[in-house]
Symmetry: D2
Subunit: 297 residues, 4 copies
C-alpha cells in the first residue's frame, strides 16, 4: 500500500522564508483579553500578577529559543526579536510564528496557578495570535521597539488617569471617558502633561512615582556585563556591526556562541529602550556575539 | 507625546491572506516529540493517554473555533480543515496558524493532568508548530486527508511490528529495524502483507483486531445525522456543492448557521475517511451548511 | 578569481510559484494609453487599427506560448488564461508575468507599422504592465471572463454614446459627460436601455448594429472543431473535466498534445463568452486536451 | 446591467508589495538568446552591435523611469536598481517587473534596425523575462553588483579563449571545450591566469587590451559631477546615507529632485563597480539626492 498516489498534495505547501539579513520581530497578542481580564477580575489599570505571568512566560520562550536576542512586553502583547543573521527554522514564517506562540502559550497556561493560585483557569482558555515582521535596518528595528514603548506610555498614562477618575473620583466609565476626551480635545499637543496635572491636582498621584513595570513595560534579555558607552554613533556603527555579524561563522564558533548564550541568565527589566544609551551598553544585541557573563556577587 | 514618528514601522507588515475559495488545512506538529515521549515514558507503539489528550485538545479547538469543519489527528500531529468559503480572520495565514496552534497548546497543557495524573509536566514544556496549506479542489482536500490516513496506517503497522519484535521477540531496536528493512527490501510491494503475516505467525497478533484509534487515527467533527448515501458522484457533485456554498449568505442565515454549529456536539471517531462513503454521508462537510442535530436517545 | 564570495546574494531571490491546480490569468494593461491614444490620434470611440494591432500581438503570444489556452482582449488590456494543470516555468509568477508582457510588447512594437503605416512610433514608446491572478474553480474563471466582457459592454455603450453626443450632437466633452451622468442618475437600473434609446432617438444609431469587435471584445484561441453542446451542466462537469486533466500524463501523450496545439490555427473572434454555450462547445478549454483540427475547406 | 455580480473576482488579486526600505534589483534576461544569436549571426565571442542595442534600450528605460538610479548590463541580461526608499508603483513586484521588461523590450525591438540595419527581425521575436529581488543592506546590493561583474569577467575570459581556439586555433567547439576544461582541472585556482597565458602565448592576445565593454560590462546612470573620494568608509557611512534618505521629504523637494533627475544626461560607461572608489565618487547612488549636473564643455 503505497502512499505515493496522494503525496502530490505536499506540493501545495508554499515556501514562506523571510527575507535574509533583516531583523525579524515575532509579536504575540492576547485574543479577547478584555473579556478574559474581566472573567478573572484583573486589577485596573494594571494587574501585577498578570504582567508577571506574561513576563515569566516570555522568559521561558527566550530560554527555549536561544536565537531570540531580546523581547519587549506590554499589556497582553510581547515582541520577540531575532537577529538579522538568524537562520532558525530556515527563517520560515509559519514555523517561527507558531513555535513562539505555542511555547509562550504553554508557559502561560502552565504558570497560571503560580501567579493566580486562587482562581483556577476554566474553558475557554486564554490564547494568543502571532505574526512576523521583517525590519531591514537597525533604525527600523529600534523605531519598532520605540513605537511599542511609546504606546505603553500613552496607554498607561491614559489608563492610570481613567481608572483614578473612576476608583478615586467616583465617576462612571462613561464620564471618565468623556472627561479624558474633552481634555484631549482642548489641548491636543500637551495631552500627556494634561493628564499628569489632573492626576496630581485631583488625586495627589505623581505619575513619575508609578512602578516602572507599568510605565516602561518589560524587557527580557540575557544578562551580560554592560559595556561603557563609547562616543560612537550607534546608528551607523550599529548597522556595521550587524552587517559584520552576517559574515559566515565557523561551526565551532557558532557552537561556542550557543553555549555561552545558554549559560547566561535571562532577566526581566523595566528600562528605557528608546534612548541610544540602552543599545550602546549592549553591543551584543547588534553584533549577535554573546557578551561577558557577569561574576556571581 | 505623539506616536506618529515611529508608527511608520507598521507599514512593514506584509499581507498574507490565503487565496479565496480554497480549502485551508492548518496542520500542527509536536516539536521534538520523540524526546518528549521518552521523558514521560509514553507506551510503545502507541500511548492511549497521549492520543486521548491530543484528541481532547483538538475537540476544544473545534468548540472555540466553529469555522473549523473537521479535524484529523494521528500521532503528534493534527490537521484542521476550514471550508473553502471560510473568511475567518480575513483568511490571514499568520492569524489562522497562530490561533489554532495557541488554542491547541493551551488545552494540551491544561488537560495534561487529566490524562497523565501521575506525571506532572516540567520544563521544557511540549509545544507545536503549525502551517497552513490551501487546496483548490475537493479532490485535492480529500487526497490530503487520504494521505494522512494512509500515513497513519503505514506507520502504525510498522511500529506495531517493530515493537512486537522488541517487546515480545526480545530483539534490540537495531535488530528489529534491520529485520523490517530486510523484509521490506525482499518484498517491496507487499510490505504491508508481509508485516501482517509476521505479526500473526510470530506473535499471534491479528493486526485487524488492533484498536481503531491506532489503525485509523482520529476524526473530530460536529455530530449531525448521517445522510443516506445517494448514487451521486461525490467527486463532481461535491465540487458543485462546495461551489454553491460560495454564494453570499444573508447575515441572518449566517448567524443561524453559526448557532446550529455551536449547538452540535463535537465528537471524536475513528473512521475510514478515504472512501466516498464517509463524504457521501456527511454533505455538510462540502456544503458548509450545518446538518440536522440528532435527537438525544 | 572565484565568484563564490558574492554568490550568496542569490539566496535573496524569493520563490513565487503560484498555487497548483488553479487557473492562472495573466492580464496586461497599456500604460498611460489615454495620452498615447491622443499622441497618435486614435479614432473615437474605437480605433479599429489599434484593436487589430492588440489582437495581432495577442495572437502571436498564443503562438509563441502554446500553454495559453485562450485570451480575451478589450481596449488596451488583454487577459491570457493558463489551464489549472499548466506547469509552464514551474508556475513562477515573475516568469509568467514578464514573459507574456515582453512577448506581447515585442509584437506590438514590431507590428505597429503594419497597422499604422503612416504614423511611425517615436519615444516615449507604448508599454504594458502585467499581473497574474489565480482562480481555484472553473466558475471563478468564467466569472472573471464575464467580468471583463460585461466591462467591455458597459464601457463601449458609454463611449459610443459619449462620442455621438460630441461628434454628432456638437456637445463639448464636459457637456456630454454631464448629460450621461444625469441620465444615469435619473434611471440607475436601466442605464443601458437609456443609452440605447438616446443613441437611437437622437442619432438613429442602432447599438445592436455596431461592430461585434467593439461590443464583445476579442477572443483569441486555437481553431478546433466545435462540439455539439450536450445537455450536460458545464458548471459541474466542467469542474470534473478540469480535475481529471490534473491526472499525470505520459511524456509521449504530453508531446503529442503539444504538437497538435502547435498545428492548430490561432484565430481571433468576437463572441459571447458569458453564456454556457461558448464553453459547452469548446470542451478543450476545460479538459486541456487539444480538439480536432478542422479540415481545410 | 450591473457588473457587480462578477466583480468579486477582483478579490483574488493578491498583494505583492516588496518589503519597504530594501534595495530593489529588477533583472531582465533574454529568453533563448543562444538560438536567437545564431539566427542573426551574432559575432563571437562578443557582438558589439548586440551589446550597443542592449545598452541603448537600457538607457531608454532609465529615461522613462527616473526612479531607477543605476543599471548594469552584461551579455543578454540587465539589472536595474531602485533605491531603498523608492515607492514607485507602491513597490508592487508585478508592476515593477512588468513595466521594466515591457519598456526594455519595446526599445529593443524599436531600435533593432538602428544596430542591425541589414538583418530585419522576423518572428519569433526576441523577448525577456524579469524578476525583482530585495536587498536589505548596501553591502548586499554592492555584493549583488559585484557578483554580476565578476560573472562578466569569468564568462568573457572563457569565451574569448574558447573562440580564439576555434577562430584562430582551428579547433572544433568540442575540442576547445575540452582544452579549457582540462586546463581548468589541472589548475583550479589559477584558472584566470591560465587562460590569460594561453591567449598570449598561442595567439598573442593581451587580454588586458580587450575592449572595456567586454571585460567590464556596461553601467548606465545619470551624469552628475563626480565627488572627490573622501577617506570615509563607504560600507558604514553609505548605509547611514541610505538610511537618512528614508526620511520623509517635502513634496516640493521631491518634485525638485525629480526635475533634476530628468535634466541629467543618462550615460553608458564601462567601469569597475566592485571597488569602493566607484561608490565613493557617486554619493547620489546612496543618498538618492540628485548630484550636480556638469557644465557643458
Amino acid at each position: 500500500m503505497a502512499n505515493s498516489k496522494y503525496e502530490y498534495v505536499k506540493l501545495f505547501e508554499q515556501p514562506d522564508q523571510l527575507l535574509p539579513n533583516t531583523w525579524v520581530v515575532v509579536r504575540i497578542d492576547g485574543r479577547g483579553f478584555t473579556k478574559f481580564a474581566n472573567k478573572y477580575n484583573f486589577e485596573k489599570p494594571n494587574d501585577k500578577r498578570a504582567l508577571d505571568l506574561m513576563n515569566a512566560a516570555a522568559r521561558q520562550v527566550l530560554i527555549e529559543l536561544p536565537d531570540i536576542t531580546i523581547a519587549y512586553g506590554v499589556s497582553d502583547e510581547y515582541s520577540f526579536v531575532l537577529h538579522k543573521t538568524c537562520t532558525l527554522f530556515e527563517r520560515r514564517a509559519s514555523k517561527l510564528v507558531s513555535t513562539v506562540v505555542s511555547t509562550f502559550t504553554a508557559y502561560y497556561i502552565f504558570l497560571w496557578s503560580t501567579y493566580f493560585p486562587e482562581t483556577p483557569l476554566t474553558a475557554p482558555l486564554p490564547s494568543f495570535d502571532s505574526r512576523a515582521v521583517c525590519y531591514p535596518s537597525l533604525q527600523n528595528l529600534r523605531d519598532y521597539m520605540s513605537w511599542r514603548q511609546v504606546d505603553c506610555h500613552i496607554n498607561n498614562l491614559y489608563n492610570t488617569t481613567f481608572w483614578a477618575l473612576i476608583q478615586l473620583g467616583g465617576m462612571s466609565s462613561t464620564e471618565a471617558g468623556e472627561k479624558l476626551s474633552v481634555s484631549l480635545r482642548s489641548n491636543g499637543n500637551g495631552f500627556s502633561k494634561d493628564k499628569n496635572e489632573l492626576l496630581y491636582s485631583q488625586f495627589s498621584i505623581n505619575y513619575n512615582n508609578e512602578p516602572e513595570i507599568y510605565k516602561k513595560g518589560s524587557v527580557v534579555s540575557r544578562d551580560y556585563e554592560l559595556v561603557e558607552p563609547g562616543t560612537h554613533n550607534t546608528a551607523s556603527e550599529g548597522e556595521s556591526m550587524a552587517e559584520l555579524a552576517a559574515q559566515p561563522q565557523s561551526k565551532t564558533q557558532a557552537e561556542n556562541d550557543g553555549k555561552r548564550r545558554t549559560k547566561a541568565r535571562v532577566v526581566i527589566e523595566h528600562l528605557d529602550i528608546i534612548r541610544d544609551d540602552f543599545w550602546d551598553r549592549r553591543p551584543w544585541l547588534l553584533s549577535n556575539k554573546p557578551g561577558k557573563i557577569p561574576k556571581e556577587p
